[in-house]
Every structure is written in C-alpha cells, then in structure tokens.
C-alpha cells in the first residue's frame, strides 16, 4: 500500500510541477527565453492568497482569484518593462535580466513580508479520505490538484489549437516576422502568453502552498527550477510534453525520496533528466530541428 501512497503523492507533486511547467513552456515557446522569474511569480501568488485569507479574512476562492489577477498583471508588467526592450538583444542578456527580476521579486517579498516562514492554511479543507478500509488515505487537496492540472492541460491544448488567439500564439512562436505580416499583433500575443503563464503560476503557487504549507520569499525558486527541468524533460515548447514531464518528475522525486535517500532526492531527479536528455537530446516529446548550413 505504501507504494500506492507514494505514487499518489508523486502524481500530486507532479501535477503542481506540470502546471508551472506549462507556463514555462508557453513563455519559452513564444519568447524563446528562460524566464527564471517564473518561480518567483509562484511565490507572489502564494503570498497574495495568504494575505487575502489570513489578514483580510476572505474566503479561499476570493483569495485564489486575487492571486491569479495580481500575478497576471505582474507577468504582463514584467514583460513590458524588462523583457520587451530586449527583444532584439542576445539571449544571454534576456536571461540575466530575468535573473535580475527574480532577485527583485524575492527581495521585495523579503521587505514586505519579512524573512520568517508563514504557515499557509490550505485552500481545500476537509479531512483525508480513507480508501481500502483506511489502508490508504488521499488528502482532498491532492484530488483538487490533480483535477485542476488535467483541466488546465485540456483547456490549454484546446485554446492553442482551436481558438484564434491560440493560433496567433503558435504563429508568433514559429516565426515572428511572418506572423506580423499576416496581421497578427505580436506584442499583444506575447503579453497574452505572459498573462496566461503567470496566471497559471499563481494557481500553482496556491496549490503548492496548500500541499506544503510553508511560505517564504524563496519558496518559488526550487519548484521553479524543477518545473523548468520538467519542461525540458518533456521537450520544451510542447504542452503535452510539459504535462508528462511534470508528472514523471514528481513521481520520480517522491519515489527516490521514499526508496533511496531523501538527501539524494534532487540528485536522482537531475540524474534521470541527464540520462533522458542523453538518449533523447530534445526531450521526450520535443521536435528535432535539423541544422541548416
């Protein structure tokens, strides 16, 4: 039974990684940049929900809504102020700027909320549900996390494949110049992508803090890196890839911690990533682009 328990925990953690990775992969697909500040947007989402429910006494759904709205606006503002002027700049300059934004968000949070750990009350109440006569328990938050993740994944796939804005997004990610010639507003499309990615980060932040109820200014950085790993694992730029990568990463992490060593948990996760990339250099579902001379 403990195997099943670990599997459920793994899928739950993996779903959170998958939601973050979806945001990562969309932003990467369209802006071709590693947005290192993404993990810190998660942290901002967590704090927003925390403030709304704990300080203001709002109900949980209102707290989640506030987190999503604030993070969406934050994502668009960051894009406009920090990344847009660098659209023609070399990739490394954008990367360093993203790191600067990440430092900025962490330290702003440190100034506003202090360095002490806040204990987050889960947005999903209720006691664990017993299964198989109590041998196995599932926390309600686990179910909510997994269901949310699947809904987000399905909606995003439909959105990018069927809707007009989604088509524009794919066009911009393929070729900005050609998309502009076709009458697509590239700036709006990129902003929209950042808005969606950051909104997803807010949801991930609330779910992450509900499952692991400690909140500090650096809460987002490690999940951010892991989700980035998950996105690469599944093939960066691919939505189903990010989903599969996230779930696999979560399951591997929990199993490695349970059966091998908690201290080497992260090392094992990264070792698996390296092995996957050596066998499939473009990730599990990545597209192979041949190099032209």
């Amino acid at each position: 039974m403990s195997f099943l328990n670990h599997l459920i925990n793994g899928i739950s953690l993996g779903s959170i990684y998958a939601i973050i990775a979806l945001g990562y992969t969309m932003v990467y697909g369209i802006a071709k940049m590693l947005n290192f500040a993404h993990g810190d947007v998660i942290m901002v989402g967590g704090y927003m929900c925390f403030c709304a429910t704990t300080y203001l006494g709002w109900p949980a759904p209102a707290g989640i809504l506030l987190a999503v709205v604030v993070c969406t606006v934050l994502g668009v503002v960051i894009e406009r102020l920090a990344y847009k002027p660098l659209r023609m700049a070399p990739a490394l300059a954008v990367l360093i700027t993203a790191i600067g934004v990440s430092y900025f968000l962490q330290n702003a949070a440190l100034l506003i909320w202090g360095s002490s750990t806040k204990s987050f009350t889960s947005v999903v109440g209720g006691s664990p549900i017993p299964l198989f006569g109590g041998q196995l328990t599932i926390a309600p938050v686990t179910i909510v996390t997994v269901v949310t993740c699947i809904i987000i994944m399905v909606v995003l796939t439909l959105f990018t494949n069927k809707s007009k804005a989604g088509t524009a997004m794919r066009a911009v990610s393929e070729d900005k110049g050609a998309a502009q010639l076709m009458g697509i507003n590239v700036n709006t499309t990129i902003s929209l992508t950042f808005a969606i990615g950051s909104g997803l980060a807010a949801i991930a932040g609330v779910l992450l803090c509900s499952a692991y109820p400690t909140l500090m200014p650096t809460t987002g950085s490690m999940p951010g890196i892991k989700a980035f790993t998950a996105a690469v694992f599944g093939g960066i730029g691919s939505i189903p890839g990010a989903f599969i990568g996230g779930i696999l990463l979560g399951v591997i992490e929990i199993f490695a911690g349970a059966y091998i060593s908690t201290q080497l948990q992260n090392a094992i996760v990264f070792a698996v990533l390296i092995i996957v990339l050596l066998v499939k250099p473009d990730g599990l579902l990545g597209k192979r682009v041949s190099e032209k001379v």
Partner: protein, 361 residues
C-alpha cells in the same frame, strides 16, 4: 620597446596589457592602502573572495564567451575544488612544509580534481546544444551539491576514509573528520592570503589569454562561430570543446580551493545555483569573451553589495534594480546612439589627422 608597441597595436596585445595592468595596479593600490591601514576590515575580508571570483569569472568566460556554451553549474566545479583542496590541505598540514607551499599544492590538487569532474561532466554535456546544455550543467551543479552534502571524509594514521550517506568508518584516536556530511568542513586553517590570490589571478590571466590567442583558442572560437564550418575544415570540434570546458573547470576548481581555504567553515550549500548565476552575471556584464571586462565586473559586483550595506534591507533590492537597469541600458538604442556619436568623432579625428599629415608632407 618597439616590440611592445607592436604588440599593443594588436587586439590580443591590447587586451592582455589592459588585463594585467588593471590587476597589477589594483594590487599595488590595495597593498599601499593596506600598509597605510586605510582599508576597512569589511573590504579586507573581501580581498581573497574577490580574487577567487575574478578567477571564476575569467574561467567561466572561457566556456560562455569563447566556447559559446551557456553553463549554469560553474559553482559545482568550485565546490569540487574547494572540498578536495581542503582535504589536501588537511593532509599536508602535518608535513611541516611552509604554508605557501601547502597552499600551492592544495590549489593544484583542487584544480586537478575539478578537471577530472570537468571531463566526467563534459563528455555527456557537450553532446547537447543551447538551452538543453544549460539545463544539464545546472543539473550537474545540483548533483555535485547534493553529493558533497552526504559525503563523509576522515583522516587518521592509516590514511583517508570516505563514505557516502552516513559515516561508515571508525577513525583511530589521532584521526580527525574533514568533511562531515551536511555540516561541511570546520576548523580549516586559513591558508589563503591576498598575495596568493593575486598570484593565482595573474597565472589564470596568463594561461587563459595565451590559450585564447593560440591555435587551439582560435579553433575553439571557430567552433563557437560555426560548428559545421569548423568541422568541415578539419577541426575536431569535440576535442576542442572538451578542452575548453575542462580548462575552465580546472580554473574554477583552483578558485574554489582559494575560496575554501579563506574560511574556517564551509558547507556545500555555499556553492549552489545562485553562486553559478552570480558568476554568470559577472561574465555577461563584463562582456562575453572580454577577459578584462570579467575582471572588472567580478570586482565591482562583489564590492557593490557591501557598499550598499548602508541602505540596509534595501541592499539586494537595489542590486536587482541596478542589474536590470544595466542590462536594459546595454541593449538600449540610447547606448547605440552614444557609441555611434563617439565612432563618428573618432572618424573625424582620423580624417583630420590624415589631412594634416598630407599637408605636412
């Protein structure tokens, strides 16, 4: 003198003269200030770390600027160098050799261990490209951190003892633990001095600048600029990539030893992802492929957060804003215009000089 003039006229020569000039002048000024006792204890404590960071930045510039591959795990090599160097220094402390010799041998051993790690990591990593390569170096950096965190090393009369995850060996009475798992090392004798750091910086600059201007260095840059073209004219791309990567790792290891032997306690978490990023920031702000830029950026950005200590809690916030502002300015149309204006003025000057030269003749 004529030779020096000729050398200074080439780009390579100019770079070398500027790099060495900056380092030597900075060293002399600091020594004078130290002698006059005008350096705050805070800045004095920063001198060795600055040297270590300069070596780190110059060595990372070899990977990122010259080889053109983004590495996000450079702190991993620093960690390997620091801990192997500390183990070496502890082993040597009983030999009675003079301290500078102990330090030099430890630094060399740290460099060799990091170079070995560089080969182990470089062979698989360099098969990948771009962001995939970056994430794998990040992964290796985290793996090194995790492994050092569960590493136990002890020394007694029968030699060195190693174990992973938990302490599985018994030490003899005269033995001592060197690396104690997540607790790291403590009670290290501080062998590093500013002078030794300065010497290490000079050696690094000498070797790396010479490498860049050698046949091998040009081959590495050819691989960076166009791998397929380099391949087709018979350059072994794998070999040169690995060479640059391993040399970069070796210097990072030496810097790590210098850094590790500057503190009495060190833990593996000191060399995490954030440290790798810090070094990358030095390299990018100093200019990719620009060695003396790395030297200046590493020095300034190590001192800057300390200077900002007066503003207290806002310190890192201001650092972040400055970082973003510098990147934005570096790539803004404003800077382009300033550069263009300067270029125009220089052109005019040259034309005038030419004309007056003609008239004179």
């Amino acid at each position: 003198m004529q030779k020096l003039k000729k050398y200074a006229a080439t780009k390579a020569g100019r770079d070398a003269i500027i790099s060495f000039g900056i380092v030597i002048i900075a060293f002399i000024v600091m020594q004078a200030l130290l002698a006059a006792d005008m350096v705050s204890s805070l800045l004095e404590g920063l001198l060795v770390p600055i040297c270590a960071y300069v070596v780190m930045a110059v060595s990372l510039n070899l990977t990122v600027g010259i080889l053109g591959e983004l590495s996000l795990g450079h702190a991993g090599f620093m960690s390997v160098g620091a801990f192997s160097g500390i183990v070496a220094a502890t082993c040597l402390s009983g030999t009675g050799a003079p301290e500078p010799v102990q330090l030099a041998v430890s630094i060399v051993i740290g460099g060799i261990c990091a170079a070995i790690a560089g080969v182990i990591i470089g062979v698989p990593v360099l098969r990948l490209k771009g962001d995939y390569l970056a994430i794998v170096t990040l992964a290796f950096g985290e793996i090194i951190k995790n492994i050092v965190n569960v590493l136990y090393v002890g020394l007694d009369s029968s030699g060195l003892h190693f174990s992973l995850l938990e302490q599985r060996f018994e030490l003899a009475e005269d033995g001592e633990m060197i690396i104690n798992g997540a607790m790291g090392v403590s009670g290290v004798s501080r062998l590093s001095t500013f002078v030794s750091g300065f010497v290490l910086v000079l050696i690094t600059l000498l070797l790396i600048l010479n490498l860049i201007n050698s046949r091998a260095g040009r081959a590495v840059m050819a691989v960076r600029d166009n791998k397929i073209a380099a391949d087709s004219i018979g350059i072994s791309t794998t070999r040169y990539k690995l060479m640059a990567f391993v040399i970069s790792a070796a210097f990072a290891g030496m810097a790590g030893t210098l850094y590790g032997l500057n503190y009495t306690t060190t833990t593996a978490n000191k060399f995490d992802f954030n440290t790798s990023i810090l070094i990358l920031v030095f390299v990018v702000l100093g200019g990719l492929g620009n060695i003396w830029g790395s030297v200046i950026a590493a020095t300034l950005l190590t001192v800057l957060p300390e200077m900002l200590r007066e503003v207290g809690d806002f310190r890192m916030l201001i650092y972040a804003i400055l970082l973003i502002a510098m990147m934005l300015f570096n790539n803004s149309p404003l800077k382009q215009r300033i550069l263009e204006k300067r270029g125009m003025k220089q052109m005019e000057k040259l034309e005038k000089a030419e004309q007056s030269g003609k008239e004179g003749a």
